[in-house]
Symmetry: C2
């Protein structure tokens, strides 16, 4: 039986989602717990994609196969009882045997949170970027619009990638102002390259502080060269909000 | 020269404010940095009071003596550059040589944050109490009023105290509703006993869920016995907001 799980995690204390030798990862924590629940039979999980060291998730999705038959609430309870407090299973459902958390994903939404007050909020230091340069929000709004559509995003992908096809579609890229010197970028698309959201956000912030003009985004996209775009925004402001699948309402 | 400092800290990773052998404390982190700044001459700091393991501060106050003459901004920069990211100096000022952060404090304000949604917010797990029992806010409002005034708070003090005089004055005790299933208690008084805020909050939550009636607070106060009051609320929802001194506006 194949199970689809939705998980939230605080990425602060992990070296990213993916298992790597000698460091903590979200995947390893979850696989260890599932393996225990299965009496020691090794369980592997397959996520919608990796998240980097320090990046958070409000709705990452993964699947795994099991022969255990437990009700949804029992799965959630059993897993959360053994997982560390910074990883929280939100939902577990039975899915078709050919469901794949990565290959069947049709869209993802990320958000990136920024705090602009002069003094750091020490309680949010791992959960939002503290950015104190004055920002031109009108220019940033304009820049966002140039990213929407289908483009080759090579310029907005870490040079440390082995991805051959860098064409992706951004459906929506918005800025939401919040109270108390906070705002966030919300972006959804059919897929994202390595560091793509962080480079887009970094570039938009560079535009906001005047290092580039909004329509420079067009030549950055056309140039297909990482060195044309702006900085890579730090990991700790970034959240994978949710992943959409074809059968989702 | 005597310096008065205001400091914010995230208490999550510390064993409380006060220096103790073999564990991390806020005091030790700050004294270590100040001693370095003074070229190795041991500097001691004196705070307005201790905070427990896991308790946070938005405006703890301490003082220390120095022969160094630095402008305010230089002090702040020098200390924050060497302090860990969960301790943040907010202000440094020169005060009279007989100022004492503890003995001259005339009032303190604490707040206690609570989250009532069914599912934990993983990003706030160390910063607010997740409390899912249904609460009667009208009864809690009534209970708050019984605490205001001058009383012997023995029933609301940890039995592990050596305090002889347990009479304190509560000036104000309020509940503030926030968006998204959050609320907080805000309490100010001329001083607080060991665990006093946490026991008052725990008792009010017990009243909110029906374990006690609001006016039971009166007999709890009169009885001068810790076993009469309710639970001690967990540390991680509690914040020392600020400390007031006679010369403050």
């Amino acid at each position: 039986m194949r199970m689809k799980c939705i998980v939230a995690y605080d990425g602060t204390n992990y070296n990213g989602y993916q298992i790597q030798p000698n460091v903590m990862s979200i995947q390893e924590e979850i696989e260890t717990v599932l393996t225990k629940i299965h009496g020691g039979s090794r369980i592997q999980i397959y996520a919608s994609g990796r998240t980097d060291k320090g990046v958070h998730a409000k709705g990452q999705v993964f699947h795994f196969d099991t022969s255990l038959k437990l009700p949804t609430q029992a799965w959630i309870k059993a897993m959360n009882a053994q997982l560390p407090s910074d990883i929280l299973i939100l939902d577990v459902t039975v899915v078709a045997d050919d469901f794949h958390a990565r290959y069947d994903a049709v869209a993802k939404q990320y958000s990136y949170w920024i705090y602009t007050a002069p003094v750091l909020d020490v309680f949010r230091r791992n959960y939002e970027l503290h950015y104190t340069y004055p920002l031109d929000f009108i220019k940033m709004e304009e820049a966002l619009s140039y990213f929407c559509g289908t483009y080759d995003f090579t310029s907005f992908c870490s040079a440390r990638t082995n991805q051959l096809d860098c064409v992706r579609t951004i459906y929506r890229f918005e800025m939401q102002r919040e109270l108390e010197n906070r705002f966030c970028f919300v972006v959804s698309g059919n897929g994202f390259l390595y560091n793509m959201v962080r480079i887009m956000v970094g570039t938009i912030l560079d535009i906001g502080r005047g290092r580039f003009q909004p329509n420079d985004v067009l030549s950055m996209l056309a140039g297909c060269d990482r060195t044309l775009a702006g900085m890579t925004a730090p990991a700790h402001g970034l959240y994978l909000d949710f992943v959409t699948y074809e059968n989702d309402k």
